[in-house]
């Protein structure tokens, strides 16, 4: 066991050191932040898709309340930080539009089918969940495919980028954000059953750690925590290595994206934290005395459904300008209106996904639907 744990430390810290040596101190620090996310998400069982399911199916609001606490903690620091350092730090602001709303709705439905959002897919794959591994492959392909058509989708119609600090100023914008989060918390508490309202100490601590890591991400990278861009970039890198000419596409011809495509993955902020996150989840699973049983076996058709859902998950995340992390968590905590619209649309989609789940995901045994 000592040898196994030593090898876990070697993998986790070794990649951070590798990034530091190859791409500089910021890269090394971002891998460490990603590792932290992975350790907290897997080790303390802090999630996004699961709590959205639990509040609907089990009237359990504890996980969702923990998410809202983490977002509020980040917002309380990020709003003044962004206002005072607008040249060095950027928020996660994006326009609200038809494609964005449709993307968020579809994303919400698909994340209940693959049992993970953006961060959840990385955590699930890194901790050895077979559905998570299939979902990761689909997510990479889907988010890349989404970049190829994003200009067509956004041309369907979108508002200008609107933010709460832009409309109300940084102070009132923060107050409005905290009131909004309190309203969602109130609805959650009203829906939750007695005894399933207040998060346990573990989730309070996890929420505080996630908030601290998200703020560290903002301060070190200059931008909020994100997931989807990195996965789409990985798909683009694979396509380019296979001979695809991505310079002919609007998304990858844009200067910022062309630079990322031509540069090493080790210089891409979201790729670094994504890799760290996956290694962090891997480390937690390998550190445990018992890694746990594999998820229940599904029929071949169900595995195909997971792959298809993951492709759509990645594609829709690109249209929605982010997943639970980039749009919901980082969008709301840095004042973007699209984060709030994303929350409404994705939650509606999530409830649809919960209905589709027992139809599309069937275990090989006759013990019932996938748990």
């Amino acid at each position: 066991m000592i040898l196994r744990r030593a090898s876990v430390l070697l993998v986790a810290l070794g990649f951070a050191l590798f990034a530091f040596v190859m791409a500089g101190p910021r890269a090394g620090l971002l891998v460490l932040i990603g590792l932290g996310f992975g350790l907290v998400l897997e080790g303390m069982r802090f999630g996004f898709a699961g709590p959205w399911r639990m509040i609907v199916t089990d009237r359990d609001g504890r996980g969702l309340i923990a998410q809202l606490i983490a977002i509020a903690l980040v917002a309380a620091v990020a709003f003044p930080l962004l206002a005072a350092n607008s040249t060095e730090l950027v928020p996660a602001h994006a326009p609200v539009g038809f494609a964005m709303i449709l993307g968020a709705f579809v994303f919400g439905a698909m994340m209940q089918l693959v049992m993970g959002c953006g961060s959840g897919t990385l955590v699930n794959a890194g901790s050895g969940n077979l559905v998570g591994l299939i979902a990761l492959a689909g997510f990479i392909g889907g988010s890349f495919a989404g970049t190829l058509h994003l200009d067509w989708w956004t041309a369907l119609g979108a508002l200008p980028v609107l933010s709460l600090q832009g409309m109300l100023g940084p102070d009132l914008g923060l107050v409005a954000t905290l009131i909004g989060l309190a309203l969602v918390a109130g609805l959650t508490l009203a829906r939750a059953a007695p005894g399933k309202r207040m998060p346990p100490r573990r989730l309070w601590l996890a929420a505080a750690l996630i908030a601290a890591l998200a703020l560290a991400n903002l301060v070190i990278a200059g931008q909020p925590w994100g997931i989807v861009y990195g996965l789409g970039l990985w798909g683009a890198k694979i396509a380019q290595a296979g001979g695809a000419d991505l310079g002919a596409t609007a998304f990858w011809a844009a200067e910022a994206n062309a630079t990322r495509l031509a540069s090493s993955i080790l210089t891409d902020v979201t790729s670094l934290t994504n890799i760290g996150l996956l290694i962090g989840a891997f480390a937690v699973m390998r550190w445990r005395t018992d890694p746990g049983a594999q998820t229940q076996a599904l029929t071949a058709t169900s595995y195909a459904a997971v792959l298809a859902a993951a492709l759509i998950l990645g594609y829709s995340a690109r249209l929605a300008f982010g997943c639970n992390v980039g749009a919901f968590f980082s969008g709301i905590s840095t004042g973007s209106l699209h984060g709030w619209v994303w929350l409404l649309a994705a939650f509606a989609g999530s409830t649809l996904g919960l209905r589709l789940r027992p139809i599309l995901l069937r275990p090989t045994s006759t013990q019932g639907a996938y748990a």
């Binding site: 791409a23 500089g24 101190p25 910021r26 890269a27 620090l29 040249t87 060095e88 730090l89 326009p95 794959a125 901790s127 050895g128 969940n129 077979l130 998570g132 591994l133 990761l136 301060v219 070190i220 990278a221 200059g222 931008q223 909020p224 994100g226 997931i227 989807v228 861009y229 990985w234 890198k237 694979i238 290595a241 910022a256 990322r260 031509a262 540069s263 090493s264 993955i265 080790l266 210089t267 902020v269 979201t270 890799i275 996956l278 989840a281 891997f282 699973m285 390998r286 890694p291 594999q294 998820t295 599904l298 595995y303 300008f321 982010g322 997943c323 992390v325 980039g326 973007s336 699209h338």
Partner: protein
């Protein structure tokens, strides 16, 4: 199928895929230029962030 694919095996596969993408990228895009690496921390660096984010168009 999942009974034969233990968690450690699947996790190692996932790690291998991601590290394989990094290796493929290093082979095609080359290693980063350390002389153009950004400062360790964006806040206080005086430089605008250059990274891309999911919320970007």
């Amino acid at each position: 199928m999942s009974a034969r694919l233990s968690r450690p095996l699947v996790a190692t596969l996932a790690l291998g895929i991601v590290l394989g993408i990094v290796a493929l990228d290093l082979a095609t895009a080359g290693a980063p230029d350390l002389f153009t690496a950004p400062s360790a921390i964006a806040l206080g660096s005086g430089a605008a962030p250059t990274g891309a984010h999911c919320s970007g168009n």
